[in-house]
């Protein structure tokens, strides 16, 4: 294998991660709805059943609570489980094994046993899918002690974070966005990890710090390009991990720019952007030249009609105009 440049799309980077870690570690198995279906989970599970067999690639009926609990219980018994929910909305059925059991298990038993489980939820937005097929629930999980939450936005990070999540000895929520599945990027052929809890600067800048995660990192990247043309230099940070949060990197950037925009694909109230704002108010207030701006979903369920959808999802334009306004205020 070589580590040379190779372009791969996001969903195939996840597929490669699963292939490589399952070959390297016999204790890894994948369970969930549609894992043997060629069309259901994108193409992230392609070839796995053929290579690793039905004992390690387990397709299930719709029983999210029991199936997630099964993944958690197998991890308690020494396996490294990956449970996939092709629509994260259905994962709400599995709150008990995720929140009550997996998240608390290591703590409430005084560290006697750990729970190496990856709970993989896929966000499917837009397409007039309405309120129960479009939700971004990362903030709900980030609220819970004992859980880690990763949300890669590039093919490189998707592969590296999936492997890191599976290797981690704690429950990790791997949340990805269907809208990212077609994105292409450089992915080394070798197995590698991207450290959980570490953000990355996608583009250096001096005027505004723009932080985001998952699909909003892609939207932010495009917004930053437009802003450069308008003379605004954006420092673009992709968090990659929602929890634990890489506060250090955000603070370092803010110290330089003095302006902060947080763009998140979740809701506003008690959301990821709210958490970052609060943390920065506590620890970086002195760096702020202007108030923090949150760009999020409004506190409204996802609508079906595409006319309403267009008004609902934060756009490149929303970020561009927020940055411009921010620069005017502090000019």
């Amino acid at each position: 294998m070589s580590s040379g440049n190779r372009i791969l799309q996001y969903s195939l980077a996840i597929n490669e991660a699963l292939h490589q870690i399952m070959a390297a570690d016999k204790s890894v198995f994948l369970i969930g709805q549609g894992v043997k279906s060629p069309w259901y989970v994108g193409n992230t599970t392609g070839g796995l059943l053929k290579k690793y067999g039905a004992s390690r690639i387990i397709d299930t009926p719709v029983s999210e609570n029991a199936v997630t609990g099964t993944a958690v219980g197998a991890a308690i018994a020494g396996m490294r489980s990956v449970v996939v929910h092709p629509r994260i909305d259905f994962m709400v059925y599995a709150f008990d094994p995720v929140i009550n059991e997996a998240a608390n298990y290591h703590y409430m038993f005084g560290g006697r046993v750990c729970v190496p489980v990856v709970i993989w939820g896929i966000v499917n937005r837009g397409g007039e899918q309405a309120a129960q097929h479009s939700q971004s629930l990362h903030a709900l999980f980030a609220h819970i002690p004992g859980l880690k939450v990763v949300m890669p936005s590039t093919p490189y990070d998707a592969k590296g974070l999936m492997i890191a999540a599976i290797k981690d000895n704690n429950p990790v929520l791997f949340i990805d966005d269907r809208w990212l599945y077609g994105i292409k990027g450089n992915v080394p052929r070798d197995m590698y990890t991207v450290p959980i809890g570490r953000a990355v600067i996608r583009k250096k800048g001096r005027d505004v710090t723009l932080i985001s995660v998952s699909y909003m990192a892609e939207v932010s990247r495009q917004a930053a390009l437009m802003l450069v043309k308008q003379g605004i230099s954006v420092e673009l940070i992709d968090l990659r991990t929602v929890k634990p949060l890489d506060k250090e990197m955000v603070l370092r950037s803010l110290k330089k720019t003095g302006r902060l925009i947080i763009a998140d694909g979740g809701w506003k109230t008690c959301g990821m952007a709210a958490e970052i704002s609060a943390s920065i108010s506590e620890e970086g207030f002195r760096y702020l030249k202007v108030p923090i701006k949150r760009i999020t979903l409004p506190d409204i369920p996802a609508p079906a009609s595409s006319v309403l959808e267009k008004a609902y999802y934060p756009s490149i334009g929303d970020i561009v105009s927020a940055a411009k306004k921010m620069m005017q205020k502090s000019a």
Binding site: F29, I58, P61, N65, G73, E101, Y107, M108, R112
Partner: protein
Amino acid sequence: MKYSRTLLKNFYKTMLRIRLCEERFVHPIINGEIKCPVHLYSGQEAVAAGVCAALRATDYVFGNHRSHGHFLAKGGSLKKLVAEVYCRETGCSRGRGGSMHLIDVNKGMLGSTPIVAGTISLALGASLASKIRKDRRVTVSFFGDGAAGEGVMYESLNFAALNKLPIIFVCENNLYSTHMSLRECRTKNNIYRIGGYFGVRSYRSDGNDVLKVYERVNRAVKLCRSGNGPVFIEFMTYRMRGHVGPNDNIHGLHTDIRPKKEIAEWRKKDPIRKFSKYLAEEGVLSEKDLESIKEKVNKEIAGAFLFAKRSPFPKKEELGRYVFRE
């Protein structure tokens, strides 16, 4: 006689250890020395003792809120149990869990948690792990009649049957889900039949007769080990104490909603009294033997309580320890 003297003696000793330990908790609960919620297992000892005797040390069990008996019967340390109920650093969960969170990984006790039915799917996962690894372990999931009201039990039965998992679902039906009688929870007293609808071999058995429990579980274990699981068993039993804590029917504070006549009827079926009578009649153990076992057990329990009370509490500097495995 069908069974060896050692096995019969161990049944007695296991049940007695559980009973005497449970009863020793009563006073410290009433006087406030023990503060965490404690759900005493007195009355149900034959289930834990019979089930765990049919298992190997490497087999897995998962418990629930009323799991002192499961923990002890599976081989968990009595000292660590008492210390945990006292929330001390020396407890099996280092004082982070209390009475409702018992674990001893080396003995195959993989954890008890009080979310009703919450560990059924975890047990399912442990049995799936065994199937993947082909390690021939069997997993037992202990839950109560109340768990039959939770959807995850139905999902789990279906999934276990579909995948022929080596798991035994043990429902300890003590006729009450907290304050609520079974009659108010279900139109019919037939929990064991649920398994059949999913293609799971299902049985009902006397849960106060340790030999019947053992025999039934032994057959279930054989089925599971030979790839013919899962099995569902409903054991009919009764708790002699209240649901939880001193305000239920712990001595002197009788707020139990259960009919006095019903309690009296079940007292006659006390699993330990029943079994010691059998042992004496069959000439397995004399009165003197029984007394000497009791004396030894009492001594061990006294030592465990002393150990617990002299043990340090967790350090407040370590509040944040164990959130994550580093």
